[in-house]
Subunit: 137 residues, 2 copies
DNA sequence: AATTAGCCTACTATATTAATAGGGTATGCA
DNA sequence: TGCATACCCTATTAATATAGTAGGCTAATT
């Protein structure tokens, strides 16, 4: 399941990508517009800022704004920051690899075989889809 | 994340699919061979039996055996029984659809758009992959 | 200086997962 | 018939992750 954190994060990113100029948008504005708990959204935007997707400005007239061009933001990067691994199981993960304790031979494992295929196809989509593709801008 | 339930279920299915004849295999045998908690495996096999993937025989010489031909068992069906929805979010699910409370327009939603693509590609793999493909039999 | 709005830490409620426990019931064989 | 075998079923629990809440701090603007 996709976490609400990721869902909200993507919604916030598209909201900010749709802004004409780079004028900062307040958390509360996005929160109301997208029906997201303000405090929860706050922590999500903070994560995105720490990972250089967003910039922020404090004080009056402050808020968050997008740093890169939407067409240069791959959804694979967004997913990995917000959701974590793209793979459904750590033993096929490229960025978050972990060996299964119970499994003596990955190459002989049916689950590994199946999930590697799923990871490949999902990753392909996440890499080929940018924020610009999602927000029509 | 793929649950251990599904992981173990697929492992058990491949184990049973690899059996030459339809001789019942005891839970304990699979449990030891695949390093799965016996009681947990018991409940998983029960689920698979109730969904007509497996048959069982009680008493001495009893156990579980596969009912259909491995090549006729789509992984999509297995996933839906053990894991639930194939979609990462209910609003793009074909079999477990639910509307998002916070989202006024699915067609305008970036998350919906992205996740629909992921569902399509995953579903394609789960439908085209059979148990026979995974266990080389 | 006052106000605004982001920054940061800590806590909590809820749900799900992964087991575990323990007894019940049908089957086969001596 | 009786006993051992092995599946059947319900209930409980421990651990973990998610989603959200609370509250105060700090920097920037006017």
């Amino acid at each position: 399941m996709l976490s609400k954190k990721t869902k909200y994060g993507i919604k916030a990113l598209t909201y900010l990508a749709r802004q004409e100029n780079r004028t900062p948008v307040q958390i509360a504005t996005i929160s109301k517009s997208e029906n997201i708990s303000l405090k929860f959204l706050e922590s999500i935007l903070l994560t995105l800022r720490k990972n250089d997707f967003l910039g922020s400005k404090k004080g009056k007239g402050g808020g968050y704004y997008i740093l890169k061009e939407p067409k240069d933001i791959q959804m694979a990067a967004v997913m990995r920051i917000l959701e974590g691994p793209i793979s459904m199981i750590p033993c096929v993960s490229l960025n978050f690899y972990e060996k299964c304790e119970d499994c003596p031979d990955e190459n002989a494992c049916a689950v590994h075989k199946l999930m590697a295929q799923v990871r490949d196809s999902s990753l392909k989509i996440f890499k080929n889809t940018t924020l610009a593709d999602l927000c029509n801008c």
